[in-house]
């Protein structure tokens, strides 16, 4: 069986393959130097060859989804994850596997001697296996990257909508960055929840940090204002810049019934006046 040959070769000349592979990697990854230490790289390559030897003893080459390759897959997932954290690009990560081909094929060649047919057969099997492993690595790399992006997005959503209590019964929400549907939803939920918690009567939405207001953003703002009104709180929009005021008028967005102020100070003054007058009674 050809697979036996592969594992035999790996067992016999694993040391040489390892040494040559590590050397190649160290040579190739001049750009990646400093991000990953030589010892770590050495450990990873040794582990990979060990796992490959173990797996190729039992499994059919090329089919890496079998149970024998489970530790191998887990190991590659781990490597990909650490590569993402260290800031490697996807091709650098994939070439970690593909660069094994050169020393591995060299070893197979020594083993097969002059028999070209056997050698071609062996090389094909080895290629198949290493390609599958390489692709798996890239897939894992991609997944880890997406996880990082998703996490950052979530964190940004949380960071970007703090609700501040300005005065007894007055809360403010300074909004920074572009407003999209998902963000408005989070902002709205946060704000309404805070209104319930603090029992605020007036909420000030400060849009100084919102770069552009189009019809969609205006609609989102109006929704928030309406929801607040339904809960029994008043809403003042502040921080409307001259360009934004012009855009709103040009777009024909109807902000009737919504109190707007040019800056937060004016809005706070108005809010104080409103709560003040209600407190007197």
């Amino acid at each position: 069986m050809a697979d036996a040959t592969m594992s035999n070769v790996l067992k016999k000349s694993g040391k040489e393959i390892h040494a040559s592979w590590t050397r190649d990697l160290a040579g190739n990854q001049s750009a990646g130097k400093g991000r990953i230490s030589a010892t770590e790289l050495d450990q990873q390559t040794a582990e990979f060859i060990k796992l490959l030897t173990a797996a190729s003893e039992h499994a059919t080459a090329g089919d890496i989804s079998s149970a024998e390759f489970k530790p191998m897959r887990d190991f590659l997932d781990g490597v990909s994850r650490s590569r993402v954290a260290q800031g490697f690009s996807s091709d650098e990560t994939a070439s970690f596997i593909f660069s094994l081909k050169k020393p591995f094929f060299a070893a197979l060649r020594t083993d097969a001697g002059k028999d070209a047919d056997v050698l071609a057969d062996q090389v094909w099997r080895a290629t198949e296996l290493l390609d599958a492993l390489g692709l798996h690595t890239v897939k894992a790399y991609q997944k880890s990257r997406e996880e990082v992006i998703n996490r950052q997005q979530r964190e940004m959503l949380e960071l970007s909508s703090p609700v501040v209590k300005l005065w007894e019964g007055i809360i403010a929400l300074p909004m920074i960055g572009t407003l999209d549907s998902a963000r408005t939803q989070v902002v709205m939920e946060n704000l309404l929840q805070k209104v319930v918690e603090t029992g605020a009567q007036i909420a000030i939405l400060d849009i100084t940090g919102v770069p552009t207001v189009d019809t969609l953003v205006a609609q989102h703002l109006l929704k928030t204002v309406t929801a607040l009104r339904l809960m029994g709180a008043e809403c003042i929009i502040s921080g409307v810049r001259p360009q934004i005021a012009q855009t709103i008028v040009h777009l024909g967005v109807d902000l009737q019934g919504v109190t707007t102020k040019a800056n937060l100070a004016d809005a706070l003054a108005l809010a104080l006046k409103r709560t003040g007058s209600s407190l007197k009674q």
Binding site: Q185, M188, E189, L192, Q193, V195, V196, G199, A200, Q201, K223, T226, A227, L228, R229, L230, M231, G232, A233, S278, Q281
Partner: protein
């Protein structure tokens, strides 16, 4: 509660019940000569467009019968749902909780120039 009526909706309203409530409330306003109605929906966690409309209708009916109607204690989720449904309940007065609603009601009635004593 004096000249005010307090309606508390405690279970998830289904359509038949909402209609009955509408009926009962309008009769009660006449019978008690109520000047103000507070509808407390703080325990209502789910609304559909029908219930949303019904709440708006009850408020309008109260107004027509000469009683100030205030919707109090709407949950954030309910508010968001109503807005997404496009029901902004124009003309319906709202307050955060019963206490606030009561203050608002008192003020509204005072502003009408009626002889309700000052608090």
């Amino acid at each position: 509660m004096g000249e005010f009526l307090l309606v508390t909706i405690q279970v998830d309203m289904h359509d038949q019940m909402a209609l009955k409530l509408q009926d009962d409330l309008s009769n009660a306003i006449i019978k008690n000569a109520s000047r103000g109605v507070l509808i407390d929906i703080s325990t209502l966690e789910m609304v559909d467009s029908f219930i949303g409309r019904m709440v708006a209708d009850i408020s309008s009916i109260g107004k027509i019968l000469g009683a100030e109607t205030i919707l109090v204690g709407m949950q954030p989720a309910v508010a968001i749902t109503l807005v997404e449904l496009g029901l902004s309940l124009p003309g319906v007065a709202t307050a955060l909780n019963v206490e606030r609603g009561m203050v608002l009601l008192r003020r509204k009635i005072d502003a009408d120039g009626t002889d309700v004593s000052e608090r």
